[in-house]
């Protein structure tokens, strides 16, 4: 059997219960006026929240029983390998960088930054080459999709373009 990432991931069950609680509470806060005989906007939300809480508890029971969680198989990845936190952090930074830069630096530069961060996460250390490829790819995507009619914002909003 492969090494489990964490023997008892309690937080996983707690997260499910928390989401359920938020939905239940929000659904409860909705005015339940639905006309005759029907259910209002809150009922389904509350139902979803309630079931999520129950499922979270069921998951907690499974964790307490010691059920194993085997990571899924993926290409180029070793499910059993010890995960590299550093690589994960770089890849996650690549996915997060648009939050900071998309509105000011625009699509092509944001694509370049994300591209460089992900290539770094995968072990590439050729910063200049990676940046150039990322910028070219981002530029081509911006131009190509703008031509197709997809709006991807300005090239460099900061400069007013």
């Amino acid at each position: 059997m492969s090494a489990t990432p964490q023997r008892r991931p309690w937080w996983l069950a707690l997260a499910v219960i928390l989401i359920g609680a938020i939905w239940l509470q929000q659904g409860y806060g909705l005015p339940d006026a639905a006309g005759y005989g029907g259910v209002g906007p809150g009922a389904f939300v509350m139902l979803v929240g309630l079931v999520l809480i129950l499922l979270g508890l069921a998951l907690m029971a499974q964790i307490a029983r010691g059920d194993s969680f085997e990571p899924q198989e993926a290409e180029s990845a070793e499910a059993d390998a010890t995960p590299s936190r550093k690589a994960l952090a770089f890849a996650a930074a690549g996915a997060a960088i648009p939050l900071l830069t998309m509105r000011s630096l625009g699509f092509p530069l944001t694509a370049m930054l994300a591209f460089v961060l992900v290539t770094h996460a995968f072990g590439s250390r050729r910063l200049v080459l990676d940046s150039v490829i990322g910028l070219v790819l981002g530029g081509i995507c911006w131009m190509g999709f703008s031509w197709l009619g997809v709006t991807l914002g300005g090239v460099l909003p900061l400069a007013g373009w």
């Binding site: 991931p9 993926a74 996915a95």
Partner: protein
């Protein structure tokens, strides 16, 4: 108008030069993107959605028909040459196909997969042509309670069949349902779960969720567990193409795979996992070369691959006639329909006959195109498999950003991309199935509407949900799907 006439009208639409070109573009792009490791058919269609923004709906769906089969073909290529099925339907193909490739028979494995896909796809499309209008006719009598029961059946089966644990399958489903209620509630006009953000009032876009879960989640997961070795692609050169014996051993599995794949795929509880698995088991039992199974038996590629393609056509039956998606791919197609303001269901056949029949006719055309395209171009696709992994995954992220930022240039979508991407990572680490999230997200709002409609009709009495024989039967089936596997296991343990 009977099905044959309709189909001829459909061919009239599909064979217009512009539409033929879109079918070709779709097949080409579908194969090129589907062949990339880690990208299955559902994600391929989602990533290609932005390409169609300017197209008229008919042209767009004709292109999607090509993309669908192209992506499936691309997926089987990846399975055979890299042993990495992009979706659960091609797991069985990978099993024998990869062994064949290692033994230098990759070309034969790819050929039997391509020709098998063509045979199965064509026969299944034929079945779709004549079955779909009949079911659409039938669906006119469906009331809200029947629809709700049907969706319950889809919910339970998708959560139980996919993945290893029912609890985790249902958590995935309910996360999707939870995201589905975000936004303005139609009947009451109330904002739900928008947390004061105007961007959330329109709800969470399925493209955002799908791309984040599949692409971003995959990138994070592979990055954290990356094995820094060049991809081991099995060479095609020097291998023999299908021999006479290969043909003899392939044609029966193709037909049997089709017979298994289409009906099971067409069921509301269908999907492509069960038929491909069944096909593999049956071929193994029937084969005269049992000793080759596990070492690269061609029957084990031909059968499951045919079953997979036939199931893909089968899945279109509940999708087009009832608006019921039973796989991640179908959920994206449904989202594509919705983005054009079209609601699949019985009325689609009446209101948009040109589109539906054009789409169905394009399935025939796309199938033929793929066969012509792929047998000679396989060398090119293999080269795509060799893209260095850092560039491949970084490129996938850039395309994911196009898909998500292009939906509405909304910062909230980028935030969702990051957050849902992390969820996708966690789901991979702890083995949660992903398709139920999408089914929940897309079917949830429809199920809620039908539920509220049914309860309004019944003046609040919940018994209205089982008042029609059809609804009652479907709910019993849904419960059976939920509890039977456990009961069977217990019986077997006691025996």
């Amino acid at each position: 108008m009977d099905a044959f006439d309709s189909l001829m009208t459909g061919f009239g639409v599909a064979l217009q030069p512009a539409h033929l070109m879109w079918a070709f573009v779709g097949s080409l792009l579908g194969t090129a993107i589907g062949v990339l490791p880690g990208i299955g058919p559902a994600l391929t269609i989602a990533l290609l959605l932005p390409v169609t923004v300017k197209l008229a709906p008919t042209a767009a769906f004709i292109m999607f028909a090509g993309v669908l089969y192209g992506a499936m073909y691309g997926g089987s290529t990846t399975s055979i040459l890299l042993n990495t099925p992009g979706e659960s339907g091609s797991m069985m193909t990978a099993l024998e196909g990869h062994k064949m490739a290692r033994a230098g028979r990759g070309a034969a494995a790819l050929a039997t997969a391509a020709i098998g896909s063509f045979v199965a796809g064509t026969l299944a499309t034929l079945a779709l042509t004549f079955l779909a209008p009949a079911i659409a006719e039938l669906a006119f009598v469906f009331g809200p309670a029947d629809y709700f029961a049907l969706m319950l059946l889809a919910f339970t089966s998708v959560s139980v069949v996919l993945g290893t644990s029912r609890v985790r399958g249902f958590i995935a489903l309910f996360l999707g349902l939870a995201m589905g209620v975000v936004g303005i509630d139609g009947p009451s006009g109330q904002a739900r779960l928008a947390f004061g953000s105007p961007d959330l009032l329109d709800g969470i876009d399925i493209t955002v969720v799908l791309v984040s879960l599949f692409a971003v989640g995959e990138i994070l997961y592979v990055a954290s567990r990356y094995r820094n070795a060049p991809p081991a692609v099995n060479p095609l050169s020097g291998g023999h193409w299908m021999t006479r014996q290969d043909w003899q051993r392939s044609w029966k599995p193709w037909l049997r795979g089709t017979v298994l794949g289409f009906p099971i795929g067409a069921l509301p509880a269908g999907g492509s996992e069960v038929p491909t698995f069944l096909s593999y088991t049956i071929e193994r039992r029937l084969s005269r070369h049992k000793e080759e199974f596990g070492k690269g038996a061609i029957e084990g590629v031909a059968g499951p691959e045919a079953a997979n393609n036939a199931a893909a056509a089968g899945i279109l039956v509940p999708l087009l006639t009832l608006g019921l998606p039973t796989s991640a791919t179908a959920a994206v197609l449904l989202a594509a329909f919705q983005s054009y303001g079209l609601q699949p269901g019985p009325f689609l056949f009446v209101n948009s006959a040109d589109l539906v029949w054009g789409l169905i006719a394009s399935l025939y055309v796309g199938n033929l195109m793929l066969l012509v395209l792929n047998l000679p171009l396989v060398g090119l696709w293999v080269r795509l498999l060799l893209i260095p992994r850092p560039y491949l995954y970084a490129g996938i992220l850039v395309f994911a950003m196009v898909g998500i930022w292009g939906v509405g240039t909304s910062w909230m979508d980028l935030l969702l991309m990051f957050a849902i991407g992390l969820v996708g990572y966690v789901m991979r680490v702890y083995d949660f199935p992903i398709a139920p999230v999408l089914i929940g997200l897309i079917l949830g709002p429809l199920a809620e509407t039908q539920l509220r409609r049914a309860l309004s009709i019944g003046e609040g009495n919940p018994l209205v949900l089982v008042s029609s024989p059809l609804a009652a039967t479907l709910i019993v089936l849904a419960l059976a799907v939920l509890f039977l596997p456990g009961l069977l296991r217990k019986l077997r343990a006691n025996a």
